[in-house]
Symmetry: C2
Subunit: 351 residues, 2 copies
DNA sequence: TACAACAGTGCTCGGTGCACC
DNA sequence: CGGTGCACCGAGCACTGTTGT
């Protein structure tokens, strides 16, 4: 702990022998400054080690060079990657990212948003627990600073949106499974309160369209962002009526993936042999598993960069827009054919 | 986007028909206020939806009800749990946590710390990439607000510290392995630039003490916080001279654990059969693996709560202190005996 | 006269930017 | 054109003045 009051613009003015307002102009690159004046002020500032007080600047200007990001749960690998992307762009533009954890509660998220507004952030990024609620819509439309949604949706509002084209990836995966002969498939995923879940379900259904039988026998299970939920549901489905037991599972989101794999471990089910498996959102640590699990992936960091660029543009006066980033399916070892799965199952039954 | 200038203390004063200074006194619980006055002001404030401007308050008071946390990498599960603990305590005390990512660079971390200071945070929490460097020591000792280190060390400074007793946990694990007959063990872990790594190495060495032979044949590999590093080192060790091949591995930290498991996957090594394994820091998704991996664990959330409580105390004037939280070892399926490992290895050799 | 309970003034925090010279 | 003075952002706080009891 030390004392020594920080040096203010007054000190610089005194040192340089000029008016406070002149110092301000020099430092904010105002055109009307003589070269001599500029030099004197800059010298004085450097000698005193002056740097403007951001709090005072915020108060006066109403802005802060701060960008807020309210996120559902930043421990999720996807979001940490987004944050990396955001920071890489924001930092190099002199902005600082303020990440606020939503704690899984819409109420808390709204508190955070209000808090950020009071602190005069220059822009707000959002990946909330729930989108499309009247409450959220109200807050967002009343926000007097640029807003950009990250993989979330809210119709008919003049705000920015950076979205993933979830449909394409999961549709490709579903099509592949259909081509491999599967008709009884289950998509286990998170909460339908957010766009990714809804789009994944949509993509899954579109993928089923090529096969009327698959359409009839396959279905999705949506619910909560929790491994426990996915585990329970998977176990229920895999231990139910053997005749109706799915031959392929798709898991959407980290928690769902963990839950599905937990269930498999407990039941002694090996993905790719007892059942085909595609995870939606690849995870770094999945590499430790053999066989290699098929996955749909997306570039979270790119999304972060896109969102950051977009909000900076909006701060600069550009009109809000919507952009889409791709998702892609990569078949690995667990995209096994219906034939192989059935062969294994009957072999087991005979034992 | 909307307009409507925010309501200030003046508006409240006008509405209540009192002086601005009186409003200020009511809101800051000054003693000289009549019950009637208090009521009128509070009513007016509520009716107008007034809430004091935090930026203006910060400027005037020099404080902000903000606590900064500069963390090496908050995507690490350990840190996200710490953050949860921090927020639970801080939020209920009216403080807001500002998490800043260090990006793995000391330079950037120091920038963040300076930034937070300028923003007038009331306290600073630190889990940096490197501790004990003169540079960091200088900044910290010049910080005029309370500082609390989270699982980091910096000697002879009058600051708070919340530390894990890493030694006990890993020592117990090492002892167990020694008792299971192992003498050739390797600890693969992260960077020795931070306390946890140093303490783990220390605990490992203490655990080896009971066996002179183990002391001679076992060693540690420290380096970077990256899965790639751990993978490479593990592969080198496991494919080297068969006579010297370790019979037990301990991995310290998430990235090291991922790296070790990746290496095992690639080499077709199964933990608990080809080699004993203990991971230091349990991970939620490890549950999906069979056999169950033995682990040393610690309560990250409790650490967060402890650190938050400590910094609030310091803000309240309490002297900085140091507290320790325990770590514990739990033997699961991969704490296999030397005998079993050797039996499997010779069996393989004969094939 | 003494005191409680305000009102009102004015300076402070650190800067910004417009009007004016 | 170059530069200065000053009001202002929103609040905190100390101090004087006023009123009623």
């Amino acid at each position: 702990m030390t004392k020594s009051r920080q040096v203010t613009i007054h000190d610089v003015a005194t040192r340089a022998g000029v008016a406070v307002s002149s110092v301000s102009r020099v430092l904010s690159n105002h055109p009307d400054v003589s070269i001599d004046m500029k030099r004197r002020v800059e010298d004085a500032a450097r000698e005193l080690g002056y740097s403007p007080d951001p709090v005072a600047q915020s108060l006066r200007r109403g802005s802060s060079r701060l960008i807020g990001y309210v996120v559902r749960d930043f421990a999720t690998p996807f979001f940490s990657d987004v944050i990396e992307g955001l920071e890489s762009v924001l930092n190099s533009s002199g902005y600082t990212l303020l990440v606020m954890n939503g704690g899984g509660s819409q109420t808390q998220e709204i508190e955070r948003m209000t808090m950020l507004k009071q602190r005069r952030v220059d822009g707000l990024l959002l990946s909330t627990v729930v989108d499309s609620t009247p409450k959220l819509r109200k807050i967002v439309s009343a926000y007097d600073k640029p807003v950009v949604l990250i993989d979330r949706d809210l119709d008919n509002l003049d705000i920015g949106r950076t979205l993933f084209d979830h449909v394409t990836g999961i549709k490709a995966a579903t099509n592949d499974l259909v081509n491999l002969g599967h008709t009884s498939m289950v998509l286990v995923t998170g909460s339908p309160d957010v766009r990714p879940t809804r789009e994944r379900v949509k993509g899954f259904l579109e993928g089923l369209m090529t096969s009327p039988e698959a359409m009839k026998k396959s279905f999705e299970i949506t619910g909560a962002f929790s491994a426990a939920f996915a585990r329970k549901e998977t176990t229920a489905v895999m231990t139910g009526n053997p005749a109706k037991r799915p031959t392929a599972i798709l898991s959407g989101g980290v928690q769902a993936t963990i839950g599905v794999l937990e269930s498999f471990s407990e039941l002694g089910i090996r993905p790719g042999r007892d059942v085909a498996l595609v995870v939606v959102d690849d995870l770094p640590w999945l590499r430790i598993l053999r066989p290699r699990i098929s996955a749909v992936s997306r570039d979270a960091e790119a999304m972060g960069r896109a969102a950051a660029t977009m909000i900076l543009d909006q701060i600069g006066g550009v009109k809000p827009s919507t952009i889409y980033l791709p998702t892609s399916y990569e078949a690995r070892d667990t995209s096994s054919s219906l034939e192989d799965v059935m062969a294994y199952r009957t072999k087991m039954q005979r034992k």
